[in-house]
């Protein structure tokens, strides 16, 4: 600010005015003041609660020794594998099923509408109550899942959460799919509804039915939306803390942590905030490209359906 005014002093008044104009744009005097005043609350929120924490976080996790320590840690190595599996399997299975189910929900009939109302329930109910419920369902001794297994097939179900890493991680992923699939189904359903009906009629005239219609009409038109959903969902899932924390709690023996939960554990249970920030920041090489691609896609392209 000060450098700008010093800079301006040496210029003729007309040039100064045009510099001011360039900054203010076409808005005049009080209008510019109003426009600025309308922006200030958000700018203040952004600086105080986004920019500052990000900068502070970067500063907390800047020491290279933290990363060396992390990469040597077997728990961290397991966590990275878990996070990748969680992202790759969780996001893709969820979205693929959501794509198929969105086609199912396009069917006419009152019971399909009613079913959709029930189907979106996992999304409407807060995460915490349902995850606690699932956690108890998976209890090896008294949980509903093993009770049903016993009643139906007379077999003793395994200890889903406390015996094997893969069972526990699988439980986390399935719970994640249960919770998040309805939301993305609704998004993809809206995408399908935006496809003009005439296209299907034209395809029908040309002899395309069923699967052919899906491959040649729906799929090309939904492709862009589907890619955006995948990227967006990957980022959201990377930051998902609740699912892993409440379903498996990172157990058994800290083998099912994901980066989001491990960071919190390091920072607050081990009281080593630097290490926690480092764990979270090690996801940046994956996150930055995703964010860049998404910012381009969300800003510029509008999906023309």
């Amino acid at each position: 600010m000060t450098t700008a005014s010093v800079f301006e002093l040496g210029r003729p008044a007309s040039a100064r005015r045009s510099l001011l104009r360039a900054w203010r744009g076409s808005l005049q005097g009080s209008e510019f003041a109003w426009a600025l005043a309308f922006c200030i609350p958000y700018v203040a929120v952004f600086v105080a609660f986004v920019a500052f924490p990000v900068a502070y976080g970067l500063w907390l996790g800047h020491q290279p020794s933290l990363y060396l320590e992390l990469f040597d840690d077997p728990i961290y190595q397991q966590t990275v594998v878990n996070t990748i599996l969680y992202l790759v399997i969780g996001v893709n299975v969820k979205l693929f099923l959501a794509l198929l189910l969105s086609g199912f929900f396009m069917r006419r009939g009152w019971w399909v509408k009613g079913l959709l109302m029930i189907y979106v329930l996992p999304w409407a109910v807060p995460a915490l109550p349902t995850f606690i419920s699932i956690h108890w369902m998976l209890n090896s001794q008294w949980g509903l899942v093993n009770n049903v297994l016993w009643d139906l097939f007379q077999i003793d179900g395994p200890g889903w959460l406390d015996t094997s890493r893969w069972l526990a991680l699988g439980s986390v992923i399935v719970s994640y799919i249960w919770k998040n699939m309805p939301f993305w189904t609704v998004i993809l359903l809206a995408g399908r509804m935006a496809i003009p009906q005439e296209l299907y009629e034209a395809a029908k005239v040309d002899g395309a039915t069923g699967l052919k219609q899906f491959v040649h009409v729906s799929l090309p038109l939904l492709a862009n939306l589907y890619v955006v959903c995948t990227l967006l969902s990957t980022i959201f899932t990377l930051g998902d803390f609740n699912t892993a924390y409440f379903i498996s709690g990172g157990g058994p023996a800290l083998s099912t942590h994901v980066l989001a939960t491990l960071g919190i554990r390091d920072a607050f249970e081990l009281a080593r905030p630097q290490l926690g920030v480092a764990a979270v920041m090690s996801a940046l090489p994956l996150m930055i490209p995703l964010v860049l691609i998404l910012m381009r896609k969300l800003r510029t392209s509008e999906v023309q359906l």
Binding site: V45, V50, Y56, I118, P126, L128, C229, G263
Partner: protein, 296 residues
């Protein structure tokens, strides 16, 4: 239209056409049944445990032996030491939710008005800042955020949570407002300006009323976001009186003797308001969400 229909339905139907349609319908019904089971299983479990008595939880029943609503009564009357401050905590959750909605709508609508209606210079910077915030996972900022809140002197204060929720709800709100605002002709603003309205009057009397559907959609979103959030509330609120329901619920979970029936009853009481709000505003919220999603 009729020509299309003629082509679509051949004059001579194939003999297995009817049978195929019945089979398809049956397959759909089967899929529907599977979906109902899949969707309702955890919710059924929640209700079942809530209606069981303490001794029945530790049995192999898949149905409450003697269903009773005692657990709900215990929750409502705060009749268990973990639930001592239940209504107080519930009030905190409501307070945080309402404040989040108010500030999110105010801040985001003002910012989008300035950027997309008044066309402030370099407004794209603000849009991009919002978009970037939308893409940063909230949980990744939790550690620095916690320490900063302590240094702002907002530890154990519900306003710190309001700040968090507003921070993470406004970017989406700005995104939606800008998308929705495009459908409102800018000539309206210009006409009002010519008639002598100040920018604030244009914002308050023209922009906000016309944005009502988007405000409802985003308000619902912000309320559910604040209601669902756990991590920050857990980190920032540790006092029993400043705590919110999810934090208390999780504390319950980590205690040695977990009275699961009380816990599930608490969970159900806590889950009812957002579900009601969701179903009330479902149409509008879906429209808003898909606006953001589909325009992707």
């Amino acid at each position: 239209m009729s020509a299309v229909l003629l082509h679509a339905e051949p004059v001579r139907r194939r003999p297995n056409y009817r049978r195929r349609r019945i089979l398809t319908e049956a397959a759909c019904l089967a899929l529907g049944a599977v979906l109902v089971f899949w969707t309702l299983a955890p919710i059924y479990n929640m209700v079942m445990v809530a209606f069981e008595s303490h001794n029945d939880i530790f049995t192999n029943d898949v149905w409450p032996a003697q269903p009773s609503a005692d657990s709900f009564w215990i929750v409502i009357s705060q009749g268990y030491w973990y639930l001592e401050y239940f209504w107080h905590q519930f009030g905190n959750s409501v307070y945080i939710g309402v404040m989040t909605v108010f500030f999110t709508l105010a801040i985001a609508s003002m910012a989008s008005f300035s950027v997309s209606r008044m066309r402030i210079r370099n407004g794209w910077l603000l849009t991009n800042a919002a978009l970037l915030t939308y893409l940063v996972p909230a949980s990744f900022l939790a550690i620095p955020f916690y320490r900063i809140m302590q240094s702002y002197g907002l530890g154990n204060n519900v306003w710190s949570i309001v700040a968090v929720e507003v921070t993470f709800a406004t970017p989406y709100a700005i995104f939606i407002f800008q998308q929705y605002g495009r459908s409102i002709p800018i000539e309206l603003d210009e006409a009002a300006r010519i008639d002598g309205a100040s920018p604030f009057q244009v914002y308050f009397r023209i922009y906000l009323p016309l944005m009502a559907p988007a405000l409802v959609a985003v308000g619902t979103y912000a309320l559910l976001l604040a209601w669902n959030e756990y991590l920050y509330q857990f980190l920032l609120l540790s006092d029993k009186r400043s705590m919110t329901v999810p934090v208390a619920l999780a504390q319950f979970l980590n205690s040695d003797e977990s009275p699961w029936n009380y816990m599930m009853a608490t969970a159900i009481v806590y889950a009812i308001p957002p579900v009601v709000v969701y179903y009330l505003f479902r149409g509008r919220m879906t429209a808003g969400l898909t606006m953001g999603g589909v325009k992707g």
